[in-house]
Symmetry: C2
Subunit: 127 residues, 2 copies
């Protein structure tokens, strides 16, 4: 990884907000600080979704529908590309019944206003 | 899209090689011209795969296992980021029984030697 420490710290802060607040507390208002204003998500089993209201709705339905109790995110590789970052990572969801769901993802990060945010977010399941 | 015409043409050439030769003719040697030397693919239902021999093996197994007869790729958005391109796209596989499988993908493109190539390739199914 060829990223400045401040970038790594900024990315970690954003990921922590997603895990603790969007997933942990099911408070989707925090997604304003996680996704760029014109972000897109590409979830498995659904069409591509753009726009903050639709993204918030997707995550609320996903977290309540699957009864997700927690999430972890771990960077596998992150490359500075121009002003942006392209990251490959692993996620793990913990469901209410204790089951763990391993996920891998690619996020195109942009620095927007004062924070590093997810601009394009695509993932799939390993199994 | 903010890409030079030559970049768009180079990307189309690479996509055509993948569809016509890797999928259409099941000739995986062409993947040397599609993926960068240190590319990674993140297929649904499998772990991340790195390295050309493993990528070639994955595609051969996938195309023969599913009996894929054809593929189309269409760019939804493509953004120049530094020297690279981040693309969101739609793919459609045609199976031997005529069934169509809609797929969406994100590809991180790099210009390597003389061609635009896929450096990171992740996709999932819409359904």
């Amino acid at each position: 990884m060829n990223l400045p420490d401040a970038t790594v710290a900024g990315m970690r802060k954003t990921n922590d907000l997603f895990c603790s607040t969007a997933i942990g507390s099911r408070d989707m208002s925090v997604l304003d600080h996680v996704y760029t204003a014109d972000a897109h998500i590409l979830p498995p089993g659904a069409e591509m979704i753009g726009g903050m209201p639709a993204i918030k709705n997707f995550w609320l339905q996903a977290v309540t529908g699957l009864d997700v109790k927690g999430a972890t995110l771990a960077t596998v590789s992150a490359e500075a590309v121009g002003d942006d970052v392209v990251e490959i990572g692993r996620a793990e969801l913990t469901l209410a019944d204790g089951r763990k769901v391993p996920i891998k993802y690619v996020v195109h990060w942009k620095f927007e206003e004062t924070a590093w945010k997810w601009h394009t977010d695509i993932w799939n399941l390993n199994q």
